[in-house]
Symmetry: C2
Subunit: 154 residues, 2 copies
């Protein structure tokens, strides 16, 4: 994703906020520019710290409130961590799932087309009407894998 398209993404988020009746403020612009540009999930405090470079008076509360709005608009996805905390990541196009590197925090989306069948099968067998699902894979990205180790059985 180039700088130009990242800026376009941030602009489109600001447009969405406006379209939904929200106002454009300096704190929101700072938060939007950071989250739209980040290829990895960030937690609220990271966004807060980065945001204060751009807008020193920024408050952590505003970070949470803005993320909540961006999530409601479907622009940002909340990522649940094993420790119960949340990180925030721009939404993918269409429905994809998350792949997170436990070492560097890098994330990628991947398409889970196969999952549709799994969910349908499970719904049929169990009788459940399935409304929502979480699939997150955790591991080591290519760059974080030990380069020298003999191949392992994983």
């Amino acid at each position: 994703m180039t700088l130009i398209s990242i800026n376009a993404l941030a602009e489109s988020w600001l447009d969405s906020l406006l379209d939904s009746g929200y106002r454009l403020t300096a704190p929101r612009r700072a938060i939007v520019s950071i989250v739209a540009a980040s290829p990895r999930a960030l937690d609220a405090v990271e966004i807060y710290d980065l945001g204060r470079d751009e807008h020193p008076r920024l408050g952590l509360v505003t970070v949470y409130r803005t993320l909540e709005k961006l999530e409601q608009l479907g622009l940002v996805q909340r990522v649940h961590q094993p420790d119960g905390c949340n990180m925030y990541l721009r939404s993918p196009e269409g429905h994809e799932h998350l792949l997170l590197c436990k070492s560097c925090g890098q994330m990628e989306y991947f398409r889970g087309d196969d999952l549709t069948k799994l969910i349908e099968d499970t719904s049929r067998r169990s009788g459940y009407q399935i409304q929502e699902h979480w699939l997150q894979l955790f591991g080591l990205c290519a760059g974080c894998q030990p380069q020298n180790s003999p191949k392992e059985d994983g």
Copy 2:
């Protein structure tokens, strides 16, 4: 699962605790009997409340500490909720995934055999070495679905 086998399950958990060098105490017996017998995921406070019927002096802290041990022994599985809190559920036999009813809290395990292929494919395509995964489906169990509503597009 019959009463007899539930009691056997609780006994086997107590044996596991002993085998790992832990002591058997009244609070632990109460917690084990509740969690081993429950077909649905319970949160810490639910276990605390149920546990005090059996052992009135039980403390919430002990519930957390015992659940931590049971989880480490692989006997209990922690279920992450969308709100960030945790519930606790006896572990399935082998690797299965969770299906939770958003209405009544009933849960079922289902086998995600198909997921193995998805994970392998994703690992190959992304270069990630995948170590862990979460798959949880949320919906309405058969009993909680609106019986009278006209069929919907879900």
